[in-house]
Symmetry: C2
Subunit: 483 residues, 2 copies
C-alpha cells in the first residue's frame, strides 16, 4: 500500500502506464507469460463497466447466454478468412483426462463458430428472428508481448451475437451496438471516442464490414475500444444457418457480432490519468468519495469521527460509493497522495474546525491544487457531493475532448505532411481510397494504419484525392499510431 | 416454444430432468462432448444465484478478483494430494501460437495453486491478513458422462480463497462461508440443505477438512450443493506463503477455499420440480409473475390490454419481474401449461369480466388446481402479489422440508437395515466411525458413501457404535446415493 512516485508521462508514457496499473492495484503480472491477474480494485472497475454495458444490452432487447470454452478445431476452419485470421493465435488442448484427443480442442479466441452451430440448431422460422444474444466470457489469443489490460493472452470481454432475416436488419443492429458503445464510452467512461468504419484491411476476419470506436490516449496513440461487425452471410453459410421465410422458402440468416473487453480498463487509465496517477470517471469509480478524517490530538478524534460516520452514512444511503480512510499509521498528506494516485474523483476532509463550523472540505481530482478545493456546509452535503461528482464526470470528458481535438489534424496538402503528422504522434484525417497498397505504404512510412472512416465525415457528400495514391476518394479516414 | 409433455418423475426421474431442462430452455447440449450451452432462461437463473451469493460475499468482507485460466503444470504438482486428486481430470494445452509449449498449461480445474502463487507475492506482514478474495470463473474437469448442470466438463462457479494468520481464523472463515451457503440455499433457493463435515475419504484433495451443504433431490438422491474447505497450511507450505507476525517472526498462513457452481441450477430444478415441469423459487425466478390476457372477441381486446398494461407497469415499478404473454397464435390454456412448465411462481389472468369487476385471477405454482387460484381486487395488487410471492417462496421451502424429513431415517438397529434404507433411495443417519474401510464397505454393499457428519448432531455429546464395524463412534453421519 506504500505510496511511491509514478514515472511522469512526459518522461516515459509506457512506464507511467505500468507504474500506475501496478501501484494502484488494478492488475499484476502472473506466472503464466501473457496472462494477467486482475486485482480487486481493477476488477471493481471492470464490474462497473460490465454493469453499465449489460444494462444497455438488456434495454436493447438482448439476453445473456453461455457457450463452451472449447471449440472443435474443425469449426474454426469452416469460415476460410476466419481461420486465416485466427490460426496463428490459437491455444490448443490436445490432452484430456490423460489421453490424447482425437480432435484437438481450441480454447475460444471468439465464439462466432460455436454460436453459429447453435444458431443453426435453434433457428427454423422467421418467427425465431431476430435472435439477440450476448455472452460474458474469457477468451484466449496467443500473445507473448503483454501489456496489462491492453494486450494479454487471456482477456475478459462480452461478445454479442445476433441473427436477422435481412441484411438491412443486421446492419441496423451493427450500428445500434456501435451507438451503444459510443454512448457508454462518452457518458460512463468520459472517453470522447470516434465511431467509424474500419478499412477492408483492418476489418475482423470473417466480417463483411467492421466498425469501431477509436479513443485517443494521452500519448496521442489510438486505442480501438470496441468493435461491431456486420458478418453478412459468411457464418450463416459456413454453419448452414437457415430459416423459412413468410413464403415458406429457405433463406440464410444475416449475423452480427460485437465486443468490448478488459482493454476498456486500459482506455480509462490512459485517457484520464496524469502524473499523479489515475483519474477515474465518477460513474465507473469503485470509490467515488474518500473521506479523510483529520485530527492532531486524541481528544479531537471522537468528534471528528462522529461527523465522518454520519456523513458517510448519509452518502451511502444515497447510493454514493464512499470509503472512510481510518488508517492510523499514516498522515493525512500521505492519504491525499495515495487516493489521488488511485484516482478517486472526490476527496472529503473533515477536521475539528470543520466539525465546529458545520462544514467539510471537498477536493476534486480533475482540478489540481487549491482551485479544485472548497468548503461546503454539512447541511445538504448529499446534494453537493452529487453535483460535484457530475461536475468531475463532465470535467474529465471536457478535458479529454479538448486534448483529442487539439491532436486531430485534417491534412489535405501533401503525403509528406501527412506522414509528419502521424510520426509526430498526432492523428491525421485525410482523404483515403481505402486500398490495401496505400495502407501498406503508410504502415511502412509512418508505422501506422487507418483507424477508421469516421461516421461523421467533415466534408460529407464531397470527394477528394487519396492522400497516398492521389486517386479519387469519397471518404476521409483517421490515421494514427495505435495500441 | 411448443409445449410438449414432460416424462413423469415416477416413470423415469432422469428423463424427467433432461426433458425439463431442455424443454424449458435452461440449457442445451453442445458439439463438444461434456460441455453444455446455458440458454438465456438458464443463464438468468444463474445470474440471480450469482447476485444473491455475491451480495453475501461482499457483506462478509470479500472482494472479487480474476486469476489466469491457465496454470503451469508444475504448479498443480506442488501439493501432493491435490495433484493426485486432479491429475485424471485435467485438460492440457500443449500448443500455443502454432508451437509446442515447453511447459504444458493446465486449464484450471480449481485455482488454489495459482492463487497460492499470488498470495505468496502479496502477503508480507500480519497487516496483510486476512486476505479475503473471491473469483467468478469457468473451470474444466475432464468428464464425459455429462448431465446438464450436474456434471459437465466445463462449469461456471465462484471460488473463494482466503488467507489468515491463525488456524482458528481460517476455521472460522470456513464455517462462516458454510453458513453463507446455507443461508443462501434456504432463504433464496428454498432448498433445506443439511450443512456438515465430509468424511476423510470424501474431503477435497489438499484440504485438512471439508464441509458441504447437502440437498435432497425429489428422487431421494443427495446432491452436494456447495463446499467450504479448511486447507490448513497445505497450500501455504506448497507455495511458501508466509508473513511476519507481530513478533517479527516468519509464519506460514492458513488458507481456505469454498465454491458453489452452476450445479446449483440443477439442485433448484430437482428440489422443486414436479410432473408439470419447473417450480422456481420467487426470489430466483427470472419471471416472477406472468400475465395472461384473456378475450374471445376482438372488441374485448383493448379494454383487457389496457388493464394488463397498467398492472404490469405498477408491478414493474415495484421491482417485480413481470412478463406479459401477448402471443396471439396460441390459446390461454396452452399458455397456462407453458408457464407452469417454466416454473413461473405466479400467474395472473385478466379477462373482460375481471376488467368489469376490477379484479384479477392469481394462480400460484406451488399449489395445483383450484386450490391455488383466487380472485384478487386490482386495487392494492402490488401488495397482494408481493405477499403471494412470499407465500410461494415459503410454500416451496415447506414442501421441500417435509419431503426431506419424510426421507431421513435414523438407523441404529442393524447394518442390514441401514443398507436397506439406502438402497430404498432414502437417507440413513447412523453412528459412523469415519473409517475408510467402513466407507468402502458401504460403497460396495449399497452403492453409496457418507454425505456428511451434520453440524447439528441429534445426539450431541453422546456416542454409539459404528453401524458398519461396531467400533465406538462419536458422531452420526448421513449416507445416501448421490449425484
Amino acid at each position: 500500500m506504500a505510496h511511491q512516485g509514478v514515472t511522469p508521462q512526459s518522461e516515459d508514457f509506457s512506464r507511467w502506464y505500468t507504474d500506475v496499473v501496478q501501484k494502484t492495484d488494478l492488475a499484476d503480472y502472473s506466472p503464466v507469460r501473457g496472462c494477467m491477474i486482475i486485482k480487486p480494485y481493477g476488477y471493481e472497475l471492470w464490474e462497473a463497466i460490465k454493469g453499465a454495458l449489460d444494462r444497455r444490452f438488456k434495454a436493447t432487447g438482448h439476453q445473456n447466454a453461455y457457450f463452451p470454452l472449447f471449440i472443435p478445431e474443425s469449426f474454426i476452419k469452416r469460415e476460410a478468412e476466419h481461420v486465416e485470421g485466427f490460426a496463428p493465435e490459437l491455444a490448443v488442448v490436445t490432452i484430456g483426462g490423460g489421453k490424447e484427443l482425437e480432435e484437438p480442442l481450441i480454447v475460444r479466441p471468439t465464439s462466432e463458430t460455436i454460436i453459429g452451430w447453435a444458431f443453426q440448431k435453434w433457428i427454423q422460422s422467421h418467427r425465431d428472428l431476430p435472435l439477440l444474444l450476448n455472452q460474458w466470457a474469457n477468451v484466449v489469443r496467443w500473445e507473448l508481448r503483454t501489456r496489462l489490460f491492453l494486450r494479454t493472452m487471456e482477456f475478459l470481454w462480452q461478445e454479442g451475437h445476433t441473427a436477422h432475416a435481412t441484411h438491412e436488419d443486421a446492419l441496423a443492429e451493427t450500428m445500434r451496438m456501435l451507438d451503444v458503445y459510443t454512448d457508454f464510452a462518452v457518458n460512463e467512461a468520459a472517453i470522447p471516442v470516434i465511431p467509424g468504419r474500419k478499412s477492408d484491411q483492418e476489418r475482423f476476419k470473417g466480417a463483411v464490414s467492421s466498425f469501431s470506436i477509436e479513443a485517443m490516449m494521452r500519448d496521442g496513440k489510438a486505442l480501438q475500444a470496441g468493435t461491431s461487425h456486420d458478418l453478412g452471410q459468411n457464418f450463416a453459410k459456413a454453419f448452414d444457418i437457415r430459416y423459412t421465410d413468410e413464403n415458406n422458402e429457405l433463406q440464410y440468416v444475416w449475423t452480427t457480432s460485437w465486443g468490448v473487453s478488459t482493454r476498456m480498463v486500459g482506455a480509462v487509465v490512459m485517457t484520464h490519468g496524469d502524473d499523479k496517477g489515475l483519474r477515474l470517471p465518477p460513474r465507473l469509480a469503485p470509490i467515488q468519495v474518500v473521506i479523510v478524517p483529520i485530527f492532531r490530538k486524541e481528544e479531537q478524534r471522537a468528534a471528528v469521527m462522529e461527523t465522518v460516520g454520519q456523513i458517510a452514512e448519509q452518502l451511502r444511503e444515497a447510493g454514493v460509493r464512499v470509503h472512510v480512510d481510518e488508517r492510523q499509521n499514516v498522515q493525512p498528506g500521505f492519504k491525499f497522495n495515495d487516493w489521488e494516485m488511485r484516482g478517486v474523483p472526490v476527496r472529503m476532509e473533515i477536521g475539528p474546525k470543520d466539525v465546529e463550523k458545520g462544514q467539510v472540505v471537498l477536493a476534486r481530482r480533475d482540478i489540481p491544487g487549491k482551485e479544485g478545493k472548497r468548503f461546503v456546509p454539512q447541511e445538504g452535503i448529499v446534494q453537493a457531493v452529487r453535483e460535484l461528482l457530475d461536475a468531475v464526470q463532465a470535467g474529465l470528458l471536457a478535458q479529454a475532448t479538448a486534448f483529442r481535438d487539439s491532436h486531430l489534424h485534417e491534412v489535405t496538402d501533401s503525403y509528406a505532411h501527412f506522414v509528419d503528422v502521424i510520426q509526430g504522434g498526432e492523428w491525421a484525417l485525410a482523404w483515403f481510397c481505402g486500398g490495401a497498397e496505400c495502407e501498406a505504404k503508410v504502415k511502412e512510412d509512418a508505422q501506422a494504419v487507418s483507424r477508421c472512416f469516421p461516421l461523421e465525415q467533415p466534408h460529407a457528400g464531397e470527394h477528394g484525392k487519396c492522400i497516398i495514391c492521389g486517386e479519387e476518394a469519397h471518404e476521409m479516414a483517421y490515421f494514427a499510431k495505435a495500441y
